[in-house]
Symmetry: C2
Subunit: 99 residues, 2 copies
DNA sequence: TTGGCATATCGGGAAAAACCGATATATATT
DNA sequence: AATATATATCGGTTTTTCCCGATATGCCAA
């Protein structure tokens, strides 16, 4: 759990927005309903919603993943990303105790 | 409470270190014991401990202050900085609910 | 095997952050 | 008034971040 890496990942409006959307995928990504949300949301859906290029969104998701804030699941040609709530819980606690 | 500004302020090892030292000023800044710690620790003490230049430390403290993580009190020629625990508590809660 | 779609990676330009040294400002002392 | 001390601000160099377009890779369908 690299604190600086986590805070850097959180230091961007678009990435915070994505994390927020991933809290309620069924609300924010209804287009993906038929595929289900068990593994999260795929890159393309996030990209069209956030309005940045595909490469930028892919990089942002990778950085969130490296920070441990989301996890990736590859299924066929899609990569699904979902929040890793354990990290958020740990971070919340860390701010109360360590920082 | 600007989330991005807070996370940016926290995205740096030296600034995290300073915040951590300020949790226990009497432990980490015993040189300042006679002046007391009611208003925190003055810039010079922090600077010599963190080992960066005076200008850098001053800027770092200002950025932490802008983020609401510390408060400044000017007394004579010294500026004392101390943690603003309310912001830390709010941030911890914010991570549980908003992010 | 060819083509199409989803994602990742690469190379780069512009903007911001990480520092620094020099200088300015404010307060205190003599 | 002159000097000293503490901090803030300014100007600059280097590194990092923010994005992009182009290209590569991996999977699937025809």
């Amino acid at each position: 759990m690299d604190q600086v890496e986590i805070f850097k990942a959180l230091s961007n409006k678009a990435r915070l927005q994505i994390l927020n959307w991933l809290k309620d995928p069924e609300v924010h990504f209804p287009e993906q309903a038929e595929a289900g949300f068990a593994n999260g949301v795929c890159v393309g859906r996030i990209q069209e919603k956030v309005g940045l290029t595909q490469s930028t969104v892919s990089e942002y998701l990778t950085s969130l993943q490296r920070a441990g804030l989301i996890t990736a699941t590859r299924t066929g040609q899609w990569t699904y990303y979902k929040r890793n709530e354990e990290t958020f819980a740990a971070l919340s606690k860390l701010i109360q105790t360590d920082i």
